[in-house]
């Protein structure tokens, strides 16, 4: 896989946990809180809190190499 597209995809998959945290866990957290009518801590908007959670969990998973 030598093409620029291939290299870009490879680089994206390399940081998969962070991308997954931001791309999926963040909005999922925000929308779960909203669906359950639960306020985010510190008066944060749901999405801001979701991004913090998604990015945090994604970073941890990226470093540890596992989510659980």
């Amino acid at each position: 896989m030598d093409s620029p597209v291939a290299r870009a995809i490879k680089a994206l998959f390399h940081v998969g946990p962070i991308l997954f945290g931001l791309g999926f866990v963040a909005p999922l957290t925000a929308q779960t809180l909203a669906a359950l009518a639960i306020d985010a801590p510190f008066g944060l908007p749901h999405l801001t809190f979701g991004i913090l959670v998604g990015l945090g969990l994604g970073l941890i998973a990226q470093i540890r190499g596992r989510w659980i």
Binding site: G23, F24, Q31, G65, R66, I68
Partner: protein, 290 residues
């Protein structure tokens, strides 16, 4: 006919008996599995508009999707073994269509599944060469945990082994299928989530895939080969009694017949097993559970 009756037979005579029985079950068109492939995919696709437009509650969609994704593998498995039609036969296009389409919900490319599965058959329980060996575990709970751990980002087990197998086979071209599937899958998940449908994406696709992979790896890879320490043709697979029965175990109670004669359709494995059992006993197969 009992194992004792057959113990005096030579290997060649046992093989002839085994093949005669197998031949009775070969060449039958698996109508139901073809219906299963398309109906299962149609139901899963239909869940999306039904849930998104509020016709079906999300919790119900989640249960149905989990069943759908779990059931999506077996029709492809029949196609991987050319059971619907062999190369050059009239219905070959249908075999390949079922193979490609049925595992879309599972995000498992047909060519990847087929190449690695054939390697699993060639090298069952070989730690270095069996792509499914990484599910080996000392017990049921350990097998479930192993399946989950194999899906972690830096794990080298589970489906991650498939990439190494394709490299060993010098079929890196097929890895492109997996890259495309994964890119589309994660792209769709992210797009749905950021469009306000994160819960729907999680419960109709993401979580059902994890449930399905755990279930499939437990019943298709772990249970029939446990404890995974023998590699001989007649010892690498066993029959077993599943708590959920043969249907609940996705037809795997009689998996020993599948490994001996992979082109027998799934639905005929039980009948073939009972006919073949004296031969299997004479061969020293692990068939004591059924």
């Amino acid at each position: 006919m009992s194992a004792r009756d057959l113990s005096a037979l030579s290997d060649a005579e046992l093989m002839r008996l085994e093949r005669d029985i197998a031949r009775e079950h070969l060449g039958h068109f698996p109508y139901f599995v073809v219906f299963w492939a398309f109906a299962n995919l149609a139901v899963w696709l239909l869940l999306w508009p039904l849930v998104l437009f509020g016709v079906l509650p999300l919790w119900a969609g989640f249960i149905i999707a989990s069943v759908n994704v779990t059931l999506s593998y077996l029709p492809s498995h029949e196609a991987q073994h050319d059971i619907i039609a062999r190369p050059g036969e009239r219905w070959r296009w249908l075999n390949e269509t079922v193979g490609h389409l049925s595992t879309l919900p599972l995000v498992l490319p047909y060519r990847v599944a087929k190449l690695t599965h054939i390697e699993h058959h060639k090298h069952t329980n070989d730690p270095a060469l069996d792509p499914d060996y990484s599910v080996t575990a000392p017990g049921p709970l350990a097998a479930i945990w192993r399946s989950i751990r194999n899906r972690q980002p830096r794990s080298r087990g589970g489906l991650k082994t498939y990439g190494a197998t394709l490299v060993r086979l010098d079929r890196q071209d097929v890895m492109l299928d997996a890259v495309i599937y994964d890119t589309v899958y994660y792209g769709a998940l992210f797009a749905l989530a950021w469009s306000g449908f994160a819960l729907e994406a999680a419960l109709l696709w993401w979580l059902p895939i994890h449930i399905a992979l755990t279930y499939i790896q437990y019943y298709l890879s772990w249970a029939p080969h446990h404890p995974g320490n023998e590699t001989g043709r007649y010892r690498n697979t066993r029959s077993f009694r599943a708590i959920l029965g043969n249907i609940g175990s996705l037809g795997m109670q009689y998996h020993v017949v599948h490994h001996l004669h992979p082109r027998i359709p799934l639905y005929r494995n039980p009948a073939a097993y009972w006919q073949m059992k004296p031969v299997l006993e004479a061969r020293g197969c692990r068939v004591e559970a059924l």
